[in-house]
């Protein structure tokens, strides 16, 4: 029953991922800018004035596969080119398209069927086979670039998640116990504050006030941010050994941010459990208050926490963009933003697809664990 459910959910990933790929590809095709031009700029072959420019352009275009039609079919106006990249005089391409859009005349569409010999088909076949193409910027394989970055991201993420769980669970438990006193009220207020502090502001404050000597040497608690590019030459674990000290501050910021939320949620969920009838029965049978809270209420209160902790991983992927860009850590978030800025679409699409996959996996895992710890939920095959 369970296997069936898992398989069913797993196969439902496929259409969603396909749609994500389709949307990404659509954005890629409509955006201005020319990958061929960018490639030639990198290769140092760009010289619009030269006679061989067009033939060179064609060569690079063929290599990138951009001379092919974009999608399986196309419905375009009669006089419109079927491929934007075919309008060769690069300087006038945007103008040609703009003129086209601004000319107030309607045209009958032309229906084109391109078969499987198109860019999208080529890309998605290669992608599913594990060939993610090369980055336009430095010609490296995308898979190698991403595999380096994903290690850094997940190391940082798991580190801060670990600390957040380790601190917030005892803290939230303690907050829910006994009468509220001055200390508890203050700490609760503080955790609410940390919960609503924008993550990028927290990080900026940490960077400005704790890593520089601008405000006296006593504020310079942490090493200055940013890894020098030698991290690429050493292995991942050696890199961690060498630059691990630079991960302390980002981990602290991230931990503080997620800890506040988790401990508040645990407290709420503990209070819900403590007001349940079964605890009154347990007390009536002679359990002490701490015993009841520890062995009965806490277990039940942890059930929603599991969903919350695993469900926070996708959100943390978005948080990694902020953290990694501010602290200059070579993870996925920084790679993604750099790739978006430089419209390096092979990298962007690979990273977004990975993030979408991880997100769906996390939701599946959360559902499974929730059902595992909560026997009230039955496996439904429907």
């Amino acid at each position: 029953m369970m296997l069936e459910y898992v398989l069913k959910r797993f196969f439902s990933f496929v259409p969603t991922l396909f749609m994500v790929a389709l949307i990404l590809f659509f954005i890629k095709t409509i955006l201005p800018g020319d990958p061929v031009d960018k490639m030639m700029l990198v290769d140092g072959e760009l010289d619009i004035a030269s006679i061989t420019y067009i033939s060179e352009y064609r060569k690079v275009q063929q290599r990138l596969g951009l001379n092919k039609p974009t999608f399986y079919f196309a419905i375009v106006p009669r006089s419109y080119p079927s491929n934007r990249w075919d309008i060769i005089p690069l300087s006038s391409r945007e103008k040609v398209i703009d003129d086209y859009h601004n000319s107030h005349r309607l045209e009958w569409p032309r229906w084109e069927w391109n078969g499987t010999d198109n860019q999208f088909h080529k890309w998605i076949c290669a992608f599913t086979k594990g060939d993610w193409g090369a980055s336009i910027i430095d010609q490296k394989q995308v898979s190698s670039k991403v595999s380096v970055a994903i290690k850094w991201t997940f190391f940082l993420l798991l580190l801060s998640l670990f600390f957040a769980i380790m601190i917030s669970i005892p803290f939230g438990f303690w907050l829910s116990q006994g009468k509220s006193n001055f200390l508890k009220t203050i700490l609760e207020k503080w955790s609410f504050l940390f919960f609503s502090v924008p993550l990028f502001w927290l990080c900026t404050l940490a960077v400005v006030f704790l890593t520089t000597e601008q405000y006296g040497s006593w504020t310079n608690w942490f090493p200055s941010i940013g890894l020098d590019p030698t991290y690429q030459r050493v292995g991942f674990w050696e890199g961690i050994g060498r630059y691990g000290n630079k991960l302390i501050l980002p981990a602290i910021c991230w931990t503080l941010h997620s800890m506040a939320y988790m401990s508040t949620q645990l407290k709420v969920s503990m209070q819900n459990q403590l007001s349940m009838d079964y605890l009154i029965t347990a007390y009536a049978k002679g359990l002490s208050i701490t015993q009841g809270a520890r062995s009965h209420a806490f277990k039940n209160a942890m059930i929603p926490m599991i969903t919350l902790i695993i469900g926070s991983i996708p959100g943390a992927m978005a948080g990694s963009i902020i953290i990694e860009n501010i602290f200059n850590i070579p993870g996925m978030g920084r790679l993604l933003i750099a790739a978006i800025y430089q419209s390096d679409w092979n990298v962007v699409m690979a990273i977004v697809m990975i993030i979408a996959f991880i997100t769906m996996l996390c939701y599946l895992l959360a559902d499974l664990l929730y059902a595992y710890v909560n026997p009230k939920i039955r496996w439904k095959s429907k």
Partner: protein, 404 residues
């Protein structure tokens, strides 16, 4: 609203909520009247015998009603007026004070003629006043959050209502109607992708197409009333779409859409944030509609022969909206945060436009500028905390059901 004011006066709310409301009110006032508080031109000026209202002209210039040449390239501070009522802060958010450029701290001696011209919260690298920037930023935040949330509501409420009400089976179309819808969709997409010129065209197109669809429907009911129908799985389609949006974090979608386009501005941010966040609204609306649909009063309305439209708009909508109001408060907070994060990374708003996130990112260029790191973030944090506070309280008070 009157109840809200009454219970506010009676001291019904706790202290934090009162303060949160006050903070939000002050924020709104500052955002709306920002041009009258911080501007380099006087509110009322008298020159050569006739009176003028430069701030009003400035607002009209921003709205595009009049064309004020050299608005930002000309130094308006040195203009002599016979009589002038000046704003509290004599700087515009774009005004570059060359004498005080290059990160001047609020506490050091500044190159100003008079205490009135002092930069109370310092300046940034180009000599722009931080306080004026904060005021302008509140306007931007208000505009973006207001219109994005309105757009999200405008898309999310109908879709959530329809999805919840009709489910997978109850909405049936005949084959003729299905073919009409598909054809119109293809033609509409084709037209809007290649020949669309602005919003009026879009409106006309939507009107025309709905007219066409209804006329086809009417003709069918007239000449072929017993057409075979097929149910449309509206709810499944909605769920699938929500799943796609859920599978990528919102921030990444925003970066993807806004990061690649060269020409962006406030309205494209509104369009894209609204176009993404309607999913949250429609999820809540759908859940509420599903729950309310099964109640007796809707069933009896159906039995009495009310049309679906009547039930949806006049009876279901007023019941469904109030529980969702709380999530709207949270949505406003998260939209403000999204906008700030975007402009922190320099994506979305144009370079001249000043916003809280953009000011914060200035602090990364020069670590000595603590005032640039502190104040914009503080304002942002205060607004978000106030909204979150009110939202949490409202969740607790109004709807214990939504508490998870």
């Amino acid at each position: 609203m009157r109840d809200f004011v009454k219970s506010y006066r009676k001291g019904f709310f706790p202290v934090e909520i009162k303060w949160s409301c006050r903070i939000l009110l002050v924020f709104l006032l500052i955002a709306i009247f920002g041009k009258f508080i911080a501007n380099d031109v006087p509110i009322i000026g008298k020159k050569d015998g006739h009176v003028c209202f430069p701030v009003v002209m400035d607002i009209a210039n921003d709205l595009g009603i009049i064309n004020w040449k050299n608005r930002y390239s000309y130094n308006h501070l040195d203009q002599k007026y016979d009589f002038a009522v000046k704003p509290i802060i004599p700087y515009n958010s774009r005004y570059m004070d060359n004498a005080n450029s290059g990160y001047v701290s609020p506490f050091v001696k500044q190159e100003v003629k008079h205490l009135y011209y002092r930069h109370w919260l310092g300046t940034d690298g180009l000599g722009r006043d931080v306080l004026a920037g904060l005021i302008r930023g509140s306007w931007i935040a208000m505009i973006i959050s207001l219109f994005s949330v309105l757009l999200a509501l405008a898309i999310g409420i109908p879709i959530g209502l329809l999805g919840g009400f009709y489910g997978n089976k109850d909405w049936a179309l005949s084959y003729l109607e299905i073919i009409t819808v598909v054809l119109l969709a293809i033609v509409g997409l084709y037209y809007s992708f290649y020949f669309l010129h602005g919003r009026v065209d879009l409106m006309v197109m939507i009107l025309l197409f709905s007219l066409l669809f209804w006329s086809v429907k009417w003709l069918q009911s007239r000449f072929y009333p017993n057409a075979k129908t097929r149910s449309i799985p509206l709810d499944s389609i909605l769920n699938k779409w929500v799943e796609i949006f859920k599978s990528i974090p919102t921030l990444i979608i925003l970066f993807l859409f806004l990061g690649v386009f060269v020409k962006t501005g406030v309205w494209s941010i509104v369009l894209i944030i609204g176009g993404i966040t309607w999913v949250r609204i429609s999820r809540y609306i759908r859940a509420e509609t599903l729950a309310t649909k099964e109640t007796d009063f809707i069933k009896s309305l159906k039995a009495m022969g009310n049309s679906d439209w009547n039930i949806l708009v006049r009876h279901l909508l007023p019941v469904v909206i109030p529980p969702v109001l709380v999530s709207i408060i949270f949505l406003v907070g998260s939209v403000i945060l999204m906008e700030a994060t975007l402009s922190f990374f320099g994506i979305g708003l144009s370079v001249e436009e000043v916003s809280w996130g953009g000011m914060l990112s200035e602090a990364r260029k020069y670590f000595g500028a603590w005032w640039l790191a502190l104040f914009p973030g503080l304002v942002l944090f205060t607004i978000i905390a106030a909204l979150g506070n009110i939202g949490q309280y409202a969740t607790k008070r109004l709807n214990p059901r939504l508490q998870e």
